[in-house]
């Protein structure tokens, strides 16, 4: 991919879009003018209304015995006037008076005898003035009640405390930031998803279906720019505009909000809530950070939908229901009581909104944030890969047919040696998501059969099926080559050394990122052999051999052979290692697994054979099973000092041996590789 071509397309599309009034209004006009205008204007009206309400006197009628004393009490309440009415309730409903005080039975004699008189305040809840009058009456009569009670207690020679043995009071200890975080956490993420989606809406349509409708797409396709460069340039434009809209809206909303707060606190007397309201600044930084994968996801999803349409109008028809579907998880995340769980961390959009909320109330953990980042990035790359794939399809970009032009036939594909780099990463994303949903589902059902289904059906079966459908040569793509004896030896020595060094690394790793006890116990449950039919042998097969074979054919086979064309040897070692780490879906395992993954990738690239990494991966896992179940030979236990090694590292002699093993292994592999290369020349 040529960077100059991509930036040329990006610059042109930005210029073109910014000259479009429709986009400008949506992107800049709306946030800069509309929100402040709407909110401030609305606020002003609310303040004026409130003041007007406070200055309006309440007309109150009495139903029942209207004694002089009751009349006095009511007339003494601020802003209340007692009026005469023959039918008070009708007058209230007709809006002629604001409230009615109903007294059942006699008032004065009962009070004198120390009794209690029921007093009801009638009001019309649909009328603001009436609700206000009821509040005034309730406050006023409560004060009268208190005075009467105090007088009675005094007469009886009792203190107020006598009838109040416990003084119950609530006190909120939550820091102001947390309170405001909770309020903002419900509102801001939802608005942000809405704004980014809105920002992507018009550019996504204009740059795809709009371009098709205007007849400029064919012109563009006739240039040397590849479809991947075109889709990347266009995607970056949509992404930039979506982010700009999101940020502009957020900034405009924040400023309007601050302005409103100052207005509100000046206008309203009881401003304790307002005074405690603080905008958590660091939260805004985090929002910006999470906005990036979210913007990626929404932009690429919208482009994928829009490119299938032939015209602007048709694209709007496709994208509007999609827009609502996107907002649904965002709304759902606003329901009180929803929170991040290991499951919801992987539900797209829903997870981001929940993470925001938890970040703003200081509840989110690093592990949760990483999971949300990783899964959102996986969905985003999948969506991006999908839109790139759509752009490659001529019936999509040049379609003159009605309806969504989306059919895939095996006969359309030409035989090819490996997946494309984009295809390999796309398939990796599909598997990451499938492992999470399907894998956890079957493993929760039954652990060992679930593990086997995950490995053989999802990972291996899925990969082989996709390679077959796309007419990819299994032999080349999966590195199914004979492994020479020297290659095997080199891989074995490197593998053994790497596994030992990994134990050492894990000891350091545990210090700065210790696995929580709960997770560790959960992990160790896997190794309780007593409940498993076949005991240790079943475990060795399911946890040792199966991942050794299936994970390798997937990662070091299909994915590696795809990306190595683009990334070369060392880029592949780094990227495939990291992707292998991420595949294990836990922040505590990413780095150690990534290191092992890098070593496995290196040996496949040097031997050219998948069997090198299959052997080392399987041996590593089997070794782990033996140690965890206490089946490891005694000399291994002592040489490695296993119990201590995980905490304080390996004995130094073992460490030296490990380094030597790695060096000798690498030496053999490099020597063999150079020799093979010489022979090929």
């Amino acid at each position: 991919m040529n960077a100059r071509t991509v930036t040329t397309i990006l610059r042109k599309e930005l210029l073109d879009t910014l000259r479009d009034k429709r986009t400008l209004i949506m992107m800049i006009g709306l946030p800069i003018i509309l929100y402040p205008a709407m909110l401030i204007f609305g606020m002003q009206i609310a303040i004026v209304q409130q003041n007007k309400l406070e200055e309006t006197r309440s007309r109150v009628a009495i139903e029942g015995v209207a004694t002089a004393q009751l009349r006095d009490w009511l007339n003494n309440i601020e802003m209340v006037d007692v009026v005469e009415s023959a039918a008070p309730e009708e007058a209230l409903l007709a809006g002629n008076i604001e409230s009615v005080v109903r007294v059942r039975g006699e008032l004065d004699p009962v009070l004198e005898q120390g009794g209690s008189v029921p007093v009801e305040i009638l009001f019309d809840s649909t009328e603001l003035e009436s609700r206000d009058a009821a509040d005034r009456l309730e406050d006023g009569l409560e004060k009268v009640t208190k005075d009467l009670r105090d007088a009675r207690l005094h007469k009886a020679g009792l203190a107020v405390a006598y009838i109040e043995p416990l003084k119950v009071k609530q006190e909120d200890l939550a820091p102001a930031q947390k309170t405001s975080g909770m309020v903002l956490g419900l509102l801001v993420p939802l608005l942000m998803v809405l704004m980014i989606a809105l920002g992507a809406f018009y550019p996504a349509i204009d740059l795809t279906a709009g371009e098709k409708e205007r007849g400029t797409f064919e012109t563009l396709l006739s240039t040397p720019a590849t479809k991947l460069e075109i889709v990347t340039g266009k995607f970056l434009t949509v992404f930039t505009l979506a982010m700009a809209t999101g940020i502009l809206n957020l900034a405009s909303m924040a400023l309007t909000f601050l302005f409103m707060l100052s207005q509100f606190s000046a206008a309203v007397k009881d401003a304790t809530f307002v005074e405690g309201f603080q905008l958590p600044l660091e939260a805004f930084f985090i929002i910006l950070l999470v906005m990036i994968p979210l913007g990626f996801l929404l932009s690429s999803m919208m482009m994928s939908v829009a490119v299938m349409a032939r015209s602007f109008k048709e694209a709007q028809n496709y994208i509007t229901p999609f827009f609502l579907i996107v907002l649904l998880p965002a709304f759902m995340a606003g329901i009180p009581g929803t929170e991040l769980t290991p499951f919801s961390e992987f539900v797209p959009i829903y997870n981001v909104v929940l993470l925001f909320r938890e970040l703003m109330t200081d509840k989110a953990t690093v592990d949760e944030a990483v999971s949300v980042f990783v899964s959102t990035a996986a969905y985003a790359s999948l969506a991006l890969w999908f839109s790139a794939w759509l752009f490659q399809r001529e019936e999509v970009v040049l379609s003159e047919e009605r309806g969504i032009p989306l059919t895939v036939r095996r006969s359309e594909f030409r035989p090819r040696p490996t997946l494309t780099p984009g295809g390999a990463l796309g398939w990796y994303s599909v598997m990451l998501i499938a492992l999470f949903y399907l894998g956890s589902l079957v493993q929760q059902w039954k652990l060992i059969p679930g593990l086997l289904i995950t490995q053989f059906v999802i990972l291996l079966g899925g990969t082989l099926a996709v390679l077959w459908f796309l007419k990819v040569d299994w032999r080349t793509a999966l590195h199914l080559r004979r492994l020479s004896a020297r290659g095997f030896l080199g891989a074995l020595l490197l593998g053994a050394g790497a596994v030992l060094l990994l134990i050492q690394f894990s000891a350091y790793h545990n210090k700065f990122l210790p696995m929580p006890k709960m997770l560790e116990e959960e992990f160790m449950k896997l190794f309780q052999t007593e409940n498993i039919p076949g005991g240790i042998f079943t475990l060795l097969f399911a946890v040792g051999l199966a991942p050794g074979l299936c994970e390798e054919l997937f990662m070091r086979g299909a994915v590696l052979s795809g990306v190595r064309q683009r990334l070369g040897t060392w880029g592949s070692v780094l990227v495939i290692g990291l992707l292998f780490g991420v595949l294990h879906i836990s922040i505590y395992r990413i780095l150690p697994t990534a290191l092992l993954g890098a070593a496995l990738t290196y040996m496949v690239l040097r031997t050219g054979s998948i069997w090198s990494s299959v052997a080392v991966h399987a041996l590593n896992n089997c070794f782990g099973v033996l140690v965890a179940t206490g089946h490891a030979p005694v000399f291994v236990e002592t040489a490695l000092n296993i119990q201590e090694a995980e905490k304080s590292g390996l004995p130094w002699l073992t460490l030296v041996a490990a380094v030597v093993l790695v060096l000798v292994g690498v030496g053999i592999l490099e020597w063999q590789w150079n020799r093979d290369r010489g022979e090929r020349r």
Partner: protein, 249 residues
């Protein structure tokens, strides 16, 4: 030089039978030669030209531009092609100059070279007065000139023109025809499709007659007249279609 061997294209429209838009087309166009592609709507002319322009991929067969095979170096091959169709439009919100810069950069040209080419072509096609105007405000003739400028900006050896005079007035059509004649004298290989028999009579060294995805006949005008027993392309085309229909019936 353009060469096509056994080109075939099948489309699979949603919910209907596959359509064979081009069936086994083989021909070549030499340097300095103009090949006209004649045929009614739906004959497969646009599909054939899009395959040559590497905008779509053939279901079978290959084509070459010079020594480069299209499916082996798709991006490279486009640097040697200028593709213009009656359907290809310009970006309304860019000025003529911005449009030319945009396409020049996509063809990998450096900015000073693009500036130089714009000066040359601008003078040639009398475009200076509207170079700074947005394309949406240009007349049809001016738009067509910008399109031609875009096609020849990177000085391609091969021109693929799909109904370039469709819907244009006489003056603008003439500008296009002049441009084709000029390109031929500069030894470009040109293939162009048209409905207008008069354009073909005037310009083409050889003509290919297409009907229902097939090239029925190809040759110099005199050869086609002789084979069909007529004295103009219009009658020759009708006669061949008639014969073909009778044979298939």
């Amino acid at each position: 030089m353009i060469r096509a061997e056994h080109l075939r294209k099948v489309f699979w429209p949603p919910r209907s039978q596959p359509v064979e838009a081009v069936k086994d087309a083989s021909f070549s166009v030499a340097d300095g030669e103009v090949l006209g592609l004649l045929g009614p709507n739906g004959a497969g002319k646009t599909t054939l030209l899009r395959m040559l322009g590497t905008i779509i991929v053939p279901t079978a067969g290959h084509c070459w531009i010079g020594d480069i095979r299209a499916d082996e170096a798709q991006d490279e091959i486009r640097r040697h092609i200028g593709f213009l169709s009656g359907n290809t439009k310009l970006y309304g919100r860019l000025t003529a100059r911005e449009t030319l810069y945009y396409f020049g950069r996509l063809y990998g040209m450096a900015d000073p070279l693009i500036a130089q080419r714009i000066d040359e072509i601008g003078a040639l096609l009398h475009m200076q007065e509207f170079l700074e105007r947005r394309c949406e405000s240009l007349s049809t003739g001016q738009t067509q000139k910008v399109s031609i400028a875009r096609v020849i900006l990177h000085d391609p050896e091969v021109l693929i023109l799909d109904e370039p005079t469709l819907g244009l007035d006489i003056m603008t059509s003439q500008a296009i025809l002049d441009f084709i004649i000029d390109a031929r004298t500069r030894q470009h290989s040109i293939i162009f499709s048209t409905h207008y028999m008069s354009d073909a009579e005037l310009l083409c060294d050889r003509v290919a007659l297409m009907h229902r995805g097939e090239i029925m006949d190809i040759g110099a005008k005199s050869e086609l007249y002789a084979r069909s027993g007529t004295d103009n392309l219009h009658d020759a085309f009708l006669r061949m279609v008639e014969e073909r229909e009778q044979a298939t019936a």
